[in-house]
Assembly symmetry: C2
Homo-oligomer: 343 residues x 2
DNA sequence: TTGAAAGCGCTAACAT
DNA sequence: ATGTTAGCGCTTTCAA
C-alpha cells in the first residue's frame, strides 16, 4: 500500500497524491476529492521513513528522555512538548534506559529524523568535547548541566536548578530550626552527577552551622527507587536512632522515608523532620505533606526550548541558566524544641 | 555525512561500508578496520529512515502508549520491552495523548517502521471492524479489551483483568465486612470504557448484598488525576459525611482519598475504609498502606507479547485472556464493628 | 493545475 | 571478498 496504489486507484499521478497529502495549494477540488476517497478506501497511511528521507528538512526537535519511569520527568515532558508545538516545531521523543548514552541516542535520532535540535532530559554531567562531537546540531540540557565535564560552554545550552545551592538551602532550612543530627539519603557521594552535587550542598550547610560531618548519617542506596530508599532509611535508623531530621535528594525517597519513620514509631515532624528536593505531585498527598524544594518544572521546560530555538534560529548564542527552586512547605519539618536543643 | 562519505574516506565501496555496519560476514579485517576508523573520524551515524526504507523487513514490534504519565503504565512498558527483546524482536515505542486514536498511531508507526505487530497500551474499548481496518498487522490490546466494540474477536488478541469482576470483588470485600454506605470515585459511569465496567462491578456487589443504589454515593470526576480525586472526595464528604467506605477505581485516586479523609479528621480505616484497583508502587508507601487489587502487570505484559508473537509467527490464532488481580491487603480497610452495624 | 523524473541514504541482490 | 546497481516510498523540482 503505497502512494502509487493511491495514485492508480484515483487515476492521478503520484505527485498529485503527494500534494493533496501535504496540503499544497494548486490542487483542483476534483483531484483532492478523488485522492481523499482513495486514501480512505485503501486505508492508506504514509510511510514516515520514506517521507523523512525525501523531505529536504523537517521542523522537528528531538527529545531524549534518559530514565523513563522517573515521575519527575512526566510533567516536564508535557511542558516541553507544548513549548515546541507552540513555537511551530514538531517533536520526536525517544526514551532510553538510564544507563545508555543520550548523546549517541540524540545523534541517531537526529540523522533519522533530520532534527533541527535536541533537548536532553536526564543526562550525565560529564560531557567532553570528544563525546559531544557526534551531536552536530544544537542541543540543550534540561534539569542538569555539565558540572563535571570539560567541554566548551559555547557548544550547548542548559537550564537547571543549582543542585548544590538548593541542597544547601534544604539542609540550611533544617539547621536553622535547630537540627544537628541530619541524615542524608542519596544515590552516591561521588557519582559525578546530581547526587554528588547535592551531597556537596549538604556538607556545606553542615560546615557552616558548625556541625562536624558524620559518615554514619550518610546513607547511599543502590537504586534510585522507593523500595531502596525504604530499606536505606531502616538501616540508617538501626545505626542512628537519634537522628532528628532527614534530607532526601529526591521526593520519591522522601515518600518512602515518611512511611519507614511512621512504622518505626517516629512521628513526623515531632520526632523527626523530613525535607527533600523535586516537588512531585504525589508529595502533596503524603501524610504529613512532604516539605520539598520544588523544581520549576514548567519553567525549566519552557526555557530549555526557548534557548534551543534561539540556537537553531541563530539569534543569540548559548546560555546556561540556573532557575531557583521554590520552597513548598508541607508539614514534615518542625523546629527542635528547647528541650531537644539541650541534648 | 552519508555512507558514501564513509566509503570515500576509507577507500572502499558503499556496500562494504554497509556490510561492516551490519555485521555481515565476508568482510576482510582490513576493510572492517578502515571503515570503522572512518566512521569514528567522521562521527558518522546511519540515517534510520533510509535504513528502514530499504530494509526488506524488520523484526520490530510497535508499542503504542496512550496517555503517558499514567504511573500504572510505567512498569508495564518495561516488562513489554523485556519480553519483546527476549523473543528476539526489537521495539518501537510511540506515546500519544489520551485523546488520540491509538489505531491510527499504530498504523502510522507500522508503515514507518515496517512493524511485524503492535501492542496497544491504554486504548479504547469500542473498536469496530471499520476502525481497526487501518491496522493491517497483528495487534494485541494490553490491560484492556474490546468490551463495548463490535469487531470480530479473531481479528486481534487481548490480555487484561476482568474489570467488572475485579471491581465486584473489591466492593464485595467491603460488603463482606459489614459496609453498606460505600462510595465510588470514578471517571464516568458511562464512558464505555474501564470506568463504566468497574462501575458495573460496584453495582452488582451492592445489589447482591441487598444494598440499594444511591446516586449520592457516586462521585464522577472530570480528570483522572490526584487533584481531581482529592476535590471529588471532599465534595462527596460534604454530601455524605456518613459513608463508611470508599472504592476508587484507580490507586492514584486512592492515595488522594487517604489524604482528604485524614484532613477531614476521619481515621482510615477506623472511621472509613478505602480500597482500590491497580496496585501502584507508591500505594505501598501511603499511611496507612492502601489495600488494592493489584494488576499482574508483568504477567499482562508477558502474555500480551507472547500472544502477539504467536500471531506474527502464525502458530496459534488470537486469544482473549483475563488474568486475575491479586489482593494486596494494606491497612486501609477494616470491618465495621457491631456498634456501627446498628446504625 | 498536473505529470514525469530525479533524488533522499541505505540495503541487498547480482556481478566480478 | 568486494563493487555495481536497482530499488524502498516519498517529496520536489522542472516541464508541460
Amino acid at each position: 500500500m503505497t502512494i502509487k496504489d493511491v495514485a492508480e486507484y484515483s487515476g492521478v499521478s503520484v505527485s498529485s497524491v503527494s500534494r493533496v497529502l501535504n496540503d499544497h495549494p494548486d490542487v483542483s477540488e476534483n483531484v483532492r476529492k478523488r485522492v481523499l476517497e482513495a486514501v480512505n478506501a485503501l486505508h492508506y497511511v504514509p510511510n514516515n521513513s520514506a517521507r523523512d528521507l525525501s523531505r529536504a528538512q523537517t521542523d522537528a526537535i528531538g527529545l531524549i528522555v534518559r530514565g523513563a519511569g522517573n515521575p519527575f520527568f512526566t510533567p516536564i515532558i508535557s511542558s516541553i512538548e507544548k513549548a515546541i508545538l507552540d513555537a511551530g516545531y514538531t517533536m520526536e521523543v525517544h526514551q532510553i534506559p538510564a544507563g545508555e548514552d543520550e548523546l549517541a541516542a540524540g545523534a541517531s535520532l537526529s540523522r533519522a529524523k533530520r532534527l533541527k535540535g535536541v533537548v536532553l532530559l536526564g543526562g550525565e554531567f560529564d560531557y567532553t568535547a570528544e563525546r559531544t562531537a557526534v551531536l552536530d546540531i544544537p542541543f540543550v540540557c534540561c534539569t542538569f548541566t555539565n558540572s563535571f565535564g570539560t567541554m566548551d560552554e559555547n557548544a550547548f545550552s542548559s537550564v537547571s536548578i543549582d543542585d548544590e545551592a538548593e541542597a544547601y538551602r534544604a539542609v540550611r532550612y533544617l539547621t536553622d530550626r535547630g537540627h544537628r543530627k541530619i541524615a542524608i539519603l542519596l544515590d552516591s557521594t561521588h557519582d559525578r552527577s546530581i547526587s554528588e552535587l547535592r551531597f556537596r550542598g549538604y556538607c556545606r550547610a553542615l560546615t557552616e552551622a558548625g556541625i562536624p560531618q558524620d559518615k554514619t548519617l550518610v546513607q547511599e542506596i543502590d537504586y534510585y527507587d522507593m523500595e531502596a530508599a525504604y530499606r536505606g532509611i531502616r538501616e540508617l535508623l538501626v545505626r542512628r536512632n537519634d537522628l532528628t531530621a532527614v534530607f532526601t535528594i529526591a521526593d520519591t525517597m522522601g515518600v518512602a522515608v515518611l512511611k519507614a519513620l511512621h512504622e518505626a514509631g517516629k512521628r513526623v515532624p515531632e520526632d523527626c523532620s523530613v525535607i527533600s528536593i523535586d516537588g512531585l505531585e504525589m508529595s502533596r498527598y503524603t501524610i504529613p505533606t512532604l516539605t520539598t524544594l520544588e523544581q520549576p518544572k514548567e519553567e525549566l521546560a519552557r526555557q530549555a526550548v526557548s534557548l534551543l530555538i534561539n540556537m537553531i534560529e541563530c539569534r543569540g548564542g548559548t546560555a546556561h541558566i540556573y532557575l531557583p527552586a521554590k520552597l513548598r512547605e508541607g508539614r514534615s519539618v518542625e523546629a527542635l524544641s528547647n528541650a531537644d536543643f539541650q541534648i
